[in-house]
Amino acid sequence: MTARKKIVNSFIFLFLSALAIAFLVPIFVVFLNSFKTKFSIVGSPFELPTQETFVGLENYIYGIKTAGLLKAFGLSLFITVSSVVVIVVCCSMTAWYVTRVKTKGTRILYTLFIFSMIVPFQMVMYTMTYTVFQLHLNNPVGIILVYLGFGSGLSVFMLSGFIKSVPIEVEEAAMIDGCSPLQSFFLVVFPILKPTAITVAILNTMWIWNDFLLPYLVLGADKTMPVAIQLTMQGAYGSINWGGFMAMLVIAIIPIVVFYITCQKHIIKGVVAGAVKG
């Protein structure tokens, strides 16, 4: 390696490190402040907790007990898990169908899925909300269907890309071995799709767990809200308990961070799997 290249690499390393720190600092500050008193957070948010300002797990207890975070947490979990399961199962079957059955209808269907990816949410949110209320889908179960609609574009696109690389002979061998079409899908095709299905699940989990606008519009009348909305409601009513707010933020991001760290290797695997023939 030449000296010039070494210098360039060092600069790139420093720049990327600074960038990583810049992204991590807010999370660290939130974590730090979740152990501090309300007044010390407002006065000196970047200071480390001292003997006077450290409150232990008090803020966490407030968040869980007083602000109803556990209930919101449970609702978020229900909506996220159910939606992701429905998206993965339905979209993988749809992708399988539109890839393997080549008719004019399936081609149009596939194009519609792709098209849905490029339509911004803000463009359809009014009509969507209206339709959701008309169909009485404005509840935690109904919103799963709405998430299926919004999540299917990218999911079908990714899954059908991968299915194209799975040799059809494998499915034919399953048929000869005695599989019905459904058995062929669930016993042979779906397990092969695992890397891409996991990627689809991760992407959708992160999006749905963190989503604010869609549940805010759809579940407007509901008393229990998912975590993302429940957090903001702390600021909407009365004075803000910043310590409790920070603690709730930490609790809210823990599942998604753990989930991402556990499954991150599958994201790369899944994205690459559809791109090249194995």
Partner: protein, 368 residues
């Protein structure tokens, strides 16, 4: 009894062009039949119709006297080995082999016994816990065969199963498949474009061109008595030499005349060639029916030709000599001889007993 019968079977994908225009074929029980032909001739389509992976457009297909046009692949009592092996990548070798049996709800002990038994025969016992990606091409091929064998079907369908293997492994697997056929006593239908596989393994070979069966016969008959120029050219490597010639009659005998040569024809050919006197025909001579040894030259040298060698291929014990006579490309296969040189004239004797004569217009054989 697993006789397979095609009765005027037609296959069309677009409803306009027929890939298989009308196939009548009977494959006997326990026969090893090989379908050969150039790419796109419909051999794989025929195999896939037997498997039930392709619908029959019209006509009737029978397996063991039962019409199976509308029968699902799983109910046809067949097993198939694919060119790409088509193993289930997420399952171990054991599960790959046991999959078909477990779907048929066979007791676990029986599955275990069968899989172990077949694995032993194919020498893949030690790989049973591995996944396909951890196996070599040859091992995968054996697993694919094993998956078919455990089912004990009455018909085995093999779609170019050896084409992805190297030459050495292919030779090994060839004899292994032949041995399996002898042991299993099932009907084997095998698709290949490799004529060595066809010649060495088949009881009968079906030669196809554009979806039409040109000839069905034993390898020996196919080689010695091809019914037309396509079959004659397709079977044999290097392929048969075709020389444009004229039949002439002189001294009560018939001759094939080309360039400056007048090759005497056998007496048994006189009758079928009566109508062709003074007409153009095509004579076919296999490369090994040219001889460079003195023993083969007639006293009057009437069967002698001179070939100017453009290319000389050293094949070990033999030489392939390439040249041209009167615009006809000629290949001769002669015993290795240090006196034969490139760009020189070589005297060759034609074995007149092995000449095939074809009609120039219909390309069908007149006599051989």
């Amino acid at each position: 009894m697993a006789t397979i019968t095609f009765k005027n079977v037609v296959k069309s994908y677009d409803g306009v062009n027929n890939v298989i225009p009308g196939l009548d074929l009977e494959i006997k029980d326990r026969e090893f039949i090989i379908l050969v032909g150039p790419s796109g001739c419909g051999k794989s389509t025929i195999l896939r119709m037997i498997a039930g992976l392709e619908e029959v457009t019209s006509g009737d297909l029978f397996i063991a006297d039962k019409r199976v046009n509308d029968v699902a692949p799983k109910d046809r009592d067949i097993a198939m080995v694919f060119q790409s092996y088509a193993l289930y990548p997420h399952m171990t070798v054991y599960k790959n082999m046991a999959f078909g049996l477990s779907l048929r709800k066979m007791p676990k002990e029986d599955i275990d016994r069968k899989v172990t038994q077949v694995a032993k025969i194919l020498d893949i016992e030690k790989y049973l816990k591995r996944k396909p990606k951890a196996l070599s091409g040859g091992q995968r091929q054996r697993v694919a065969l094993g998956r078919a064998m455990v089912r004990e079907p009455s018909v085995f369908l093999l779609d170019e199963p050896l084409s992805n293997l190297d030459a050495k492994l292919r030779t090994e697997m060839r004899s292994q498949i032949t041995q399996l056929h002898n042991d299993l006593q099932a009907t084997f239908i095998y698709v290949t474009h490799d004529q060595t596989e066809a010649m060495t393994m088949a009881d009968r070979i079906v030669v196809l061109k554009d979806g039409i069966v040109n000839q069905i016969d034993t390898p020996q008959n196919l080689y010695n008595h091809p019914c037309n120029m396509f079959v004659a050219g397709f079977i044999g490597s290097p392929q048969m030499n075709f020389i444009n010639a004229k039949i002439i009659a002189a001294d009560g005998k018939l001759y094939a005349s080309f360039s400056d040569y007048k090759i005497p024809l056998l007496e048994r050919m006189c009758d079928p060639l009566k109508e062709y006197i003074d007409k153009d025909v095509v004579i076919g001579i296999r490369p090994e029916n040219f001889h460079s040894e003195k023993f083969y030259f007639k006293e009057d040298e009437s069967n002698k030709i001179e070939l100017f060698t453009n290319i000389v291929e050293m094949m070990g014990s033999e030489l392939n000599l390439y040249g041209e006579i009167d615009g006809n490309k000629i290949v001769a296969k002669v015993p290795s001889n240090p006196n034969i040189k490139l760009n020189s004239n070589v005297s060759l004797a034609i074995n007149t007993e092995k000449i095939h004569i074809f009609d120039k217009d219909t390309q069908n054989v007149i006599c051989d």
